[in-house]
Symmetry: D2
Subunit: 402 residues, 4 copies
């Protein structure tokens, strides 16, 4: 049975990228790349490396039940996986399996691959949400809407500027994500980081492995210096925060009493029996998914304190935590894109609210030291919308000086 | 009375940068810069802006008791501060105070200034710690020490590689800190972000304000899209994690049973009466300070969900949280620099442990698919140390292609 | 200068109970009680214990600057405090200071005293808030208000039931607080918990110390088994959650578009210039204070992993964290009591909203399998209000079977 | 495929109690009990209630795929489940399904049932661990072991007292767990808590439902006042902390350099190839599982701020979070019981360490104001062990006044 809550918390494409199968594929991919890198470095025969690559490409032929069964006793799944791979390729090529590596080398690198793949999906959903926000910003560039501070009506702004705020946040997250992904490093150091089992070719092998997998390379292993994990946690936490802030705006605009926006999705949120009710399910779900992130990030950060050459527990705690974090932030992104895709803006009602708020002149006086000229109700909202959209185009289309 | 625990948790230079006085100075600095920016933009007279600048430069002459007393009723300290400043400059120049701004513009920008100043101190302590780690890496480049995984003796590594790991982490944090600081943006949008009270010159004024303060500028306000706060939280959480992982290594090397390192600081940690005991107080304190970070980061990330044009509570919760986070991470950095400065490495005992572990050959077999050549006990430890040191030099000295 | 944000985050009476002065008083109180307990147990002369008690009662006469100055080097403030006390009582009575104790005995017990005192203030504010909620529940027992689910109007409920929900939560927290406070234990075990320095009278001395301070006693020290800290963290986290959920209801009822309730506090939240705006500052501030709690609780829980007989950092991290947690939850309670004290309910507008929602019959059908009889719009709201009020009376007045 | 990390993070019996199947069973159990309670209250015919009970008892006959498929659109799985149940019992008995309830009534009550079942397993593992700790305390009551503070050797204590500390913590958690479980309440209030759809029998039905399920009853619904969730979070966080502190002691005693204890589990942690290495896998895994708890608890506490009559996202975020929390704390308990079951204590080495520490007399002087009599090295360790064991017997065997 698919998970009872998966429709909510394993939304969109991200779930498949953080599944057990995805983890296993990533582990095998690392072992295969490691064999090829070892061949390139001259440590094993190319034919042997090819055998390993073939074995890794065919998980169905491997005794994975044994891997799963023995993972906990070994402390992690890599030792039994290595044995299963060695069995699969036979004694002649077994030496090409797991060359010079320690379990953490393979598991950390697999985690990085998994994260990269998940983040590609997250990024696609963020991009979709951003595109929808951009369209809202363009289409409603000058449509007035009441600005609300501390949940009190304050002064008018525009739908365009509101959407541009969302867009700026989503694009900002994407820029950060891209930087983190580009810097994701391979892990390779051997048992205690010295590369002692790599017959003098460890540094070269690490570089070759990084090249095989398209990852960055570090000057030394990061077995217990977990900056790449912190980078992932940080950017996912930031993404969750931006997704949540957009989602809460949608939820609040959709309040019955505000009624300035609604998710219009047939078969969702509403009811023939309860015609006046239309829950913004997508935005609510985005919020629910995003709210799981801060605690998970805290767990990852607390786990950075790792002892000597390999941590006795903190390292392990990263696996389910980062997996859950990727999944829930990806789900939030998917939901938010769904929400914005079906968001219907009620500009007449918005305009009526602004008009109904009456003489906003005195109100403005509170925060303005300089009296605003008549008619400039929304100030430079439009110019700011344009500026955000220009940045968005630069991000999505690229520019000569990019 | 200075705080009872300040010697531990408000260590080094960072405390002064996050004090109430520092907050107030930052707020005044923003108001002064705002007046000058308004003058440059032509919104107020230069003489009026000068009056504001002078008033802000002399906090002692301001009725700050009233500001403090009225801050809570106003929801934040800026409204009473504005009134006090207007009183100070007199009716003729009062219009040059707080031009077109909302409280959050000033408070957020002040927070950014405060954070930048605190991070400069944090960075200096990180740099000091890094320099000490670099020295250890150089001086003990090839000195053997037992590598320990899951707190079990595993295979030999070198003090150099261990210290290089610390160095790589500390330098990695510094690189990230520098990026975050360079991107810290000014906040300026007026009541609801439209710049409606800036008489058509808001975008220009924002740019001028950013220039006055040496901050980055954004295309739209970030009143409820809190990426700059997330960036600060993320990098401070990462810093805490790296500091903690170095500190725990020191604590573990200093264990009585390991005894391979000790903090040698007269008048601290030891006792004439208890000659055999020498608590590594600095490393322990670094760990204590660092452990406060993950929860505080989680609070900041959870606060990113902010409603409409200004959040009803989440925004406010950032102030004490970020202040505490800067203070505790800065203290951790200060303590770690102290710890490494007085760390005495017992290389003979380290060597004896390695020697005493006997025939490490069979052990290596576990993780090595390729048998290691005789004598290559620490593999490419030295080469990796050199690579980390090279990166360190590039970071600290700069290079042509920087 | 009082803290710039203290009006918001150090609200009400709790701040004074968690100040540095309060900490010092608590430490001295423990040392005094310890001397008396030692006298009662026959370990020191009563005259010596009296001397210690007198010295502890007069902090102004002690060289506390030295205590503060040396606390960090000693790892905590107790060793220098003991020395200062020994100096104060002179060589004849010095042996009556700190009898058989380790620093953690005194610091943990002081923390417990501090927490108890702070919780008494928190409880008083919770009680005040509960009383105000009870009054609302009574006075508006049957006044209709629209029930809102997922921030959408759903079906009518009553102000009485809404307030009864708040009341039940506040009373529930008070019951839990009382249980935690009643179980708060003394700490006394000596250096490693064996009572080896208590000359065979340690268990008796612990009991006497508990009696002196009105604390519970445990069968063994809890130096590294931190259940009392977890209890405090848990109940404070729960309190923050209940305070936040009441506060968010007030904020949402006070939304301009809802306008069914308002904080009416002259000189706060409103503005003569901005007549339509009236920020519910107290509720917003309660929410801000409460939101700092979950992260702090996580820090305390993460710190429960403590090594051997005394933790190298985790223990220390409790001090500022629990202090901040008590302060911020206490402030939230104080703010919420203020909010409810000035909350004006607009029952006509509430009734109009309910009436305006029109034919609620079909809507009810969605969730009801059983058609509701005509007129029973708010079902058994009243009966439930009465039940909550009855429980409230039982809690506040006591009953024969209490 | 079973999960790759399930052997580590879904350990022991708890996993089955928090699975999707367990969730579904719990939901059906609540619907069945609700029908019976409605029959007892006279709202539906007994025959109809029986039909519902039968349908709920046979999940295989229900179209659960549809439930899963439609859950997300509905916002939660209950609406499609109700429809499937109504289809299953046919039009005649459909009115006996979900009588007067709202989705949250069923989901919250199911969550409570799920938690109770999971906690029973957690408690059994805690009890097993406690029994093993008790045996250690008895068997090694007077065996000396070096006490270590701040990871430095301090003064001797006994294995008995160390184990008694663990025992006290585990028993303390069990007492708290029992209190939380005993107070777990049913949820029943209808759409907005008024019981408006229960035809005047809602309060009675709630009581009957509570009786059917053996749950406590509250005076009003707790739809947005989440104290039961806070109670669960608090006690699970406390449990994790105690499990972690015992686990870290085992890990530290098993350090190669300390070598005073070892997990002796054939086929785990050790290696024929690496004879000198014996990772305490169970303790390490307990620690890894426990470390996930604080962040999850923070998420639950942050989710307590719930809007009006049903929260728009915070409520939903509880489901995966509490499920994960129960699973990981249960796994930690299972691992710790495994660890203690195979823990071999090396008393001769412990004694040698104590003896080798030489003249401990001067050391004691540091913390002792009263000179310890000769020979009383471990003070009242034994008496304290006995006291803890007495409490343990009282807890496990019950006493007349229990």
């Amino acid at each position: 049975m698919t998970g009872l809550f998966d429709g909510t918390f394993a939304r969109g494409g991200v779930a498949a990228t953080v599944s057990d199968e995805a983890w296993l594929r990533a582990l095998l991919e690392v072992e295969a790349a490691l064999a090829r890198a070892a061949a390139r470095t001259g440590l094993v025969a190319t034919t042997a490396a090819d055998a390993v690559t073939r074995a890794c490409a065919d998980p169905a032929a491997l005794d994975l039940a044994t891997v799963v069964a023995r993972a906990a006793d070994a402390g992690n799944p890599v030792p039994p996986l290595v044995r299963v791979l060695q069995d699969a390729v036979g004694p002649r090529d077994a030496a090409a399996v797991h060359v010079g590596a320690t379990s953490q080398d393979v598991l950390d690198t697999a985690l990085v691959l998994l994260a990269r793949r998940a983040l590609a999906v997250v990024d696609a959903d963020l991009a979709a949400a951003a595109e929808l926000a951009a369209r809202l910003a363009r289409e409603h560039r000058d449509d007035p809407v009441m600005g609300r501070t501390l949940l009190q009506q304050a002064l008018p702004t525009t739908v365009g500027l509101k959407a541009a705020g969302w867009l700026g946040g989503l694009d900002g997250v994407r820029v950060r994500l891209a930087e983190v992904v580009a810097a994701l490093p391979v892990q390779y150091g051997g048992a205690v980081g010295t590369l002692a089992a790599s017959r003098g070719s460890g540094v070269d092998l690490r570089a070759a492995l990084a090249e095989e997998l398209g990852l960055a390379v570090t000057a030394a292993p990061w077995h217990t210096v977990r900056l790449p994990i912190a980078d992932l946690g940080g950017v996912l936490g930031a993404a969750a925060g931006v997704l949540a802030t957009v989602a809460v705006d949608v939820v609040l605009l959709a309040q019955t009493e505000v009624g300035e926006a609604a998710e219009v999705a047939p078969g969702r949120g509403g009811s023939s029996a309860m015609a006046h009710k239309n829950n913004p399910v997508a935005a609510i779900s985005a919020r629910a998914c995003a709210r799981r992130a801060p605690g998970l990030v805290a767990t990852l950060l607390a786990a950075m304190e790792q002892e000597h050459e390999r941590a006795a527990g903190a390292w392990h705690s990263e696996w389910p935590t980062l997996t859950a974090l990727l999944g829930t932030v990806g789900s939030a992104a998917s939901w938010l894109a769904e929400s914005l895709a079906v968001l219907r803006i009620d500009t007449p009602r918005m305009a009526a609210t602004v008009a109904g708020a009456g003489n906003a002149g005195p109100a403005r006086a509170l925060t303005d030291a300089v009296p605003a000229p008549a008619g400039a109700d929304v100030g430079e909202a439009g110019a700011q919308v344009d500026a955000v959209l220009t940045e968005h185009r630069r991000l999505t289309e690229g520019t000569p000086d990019d």
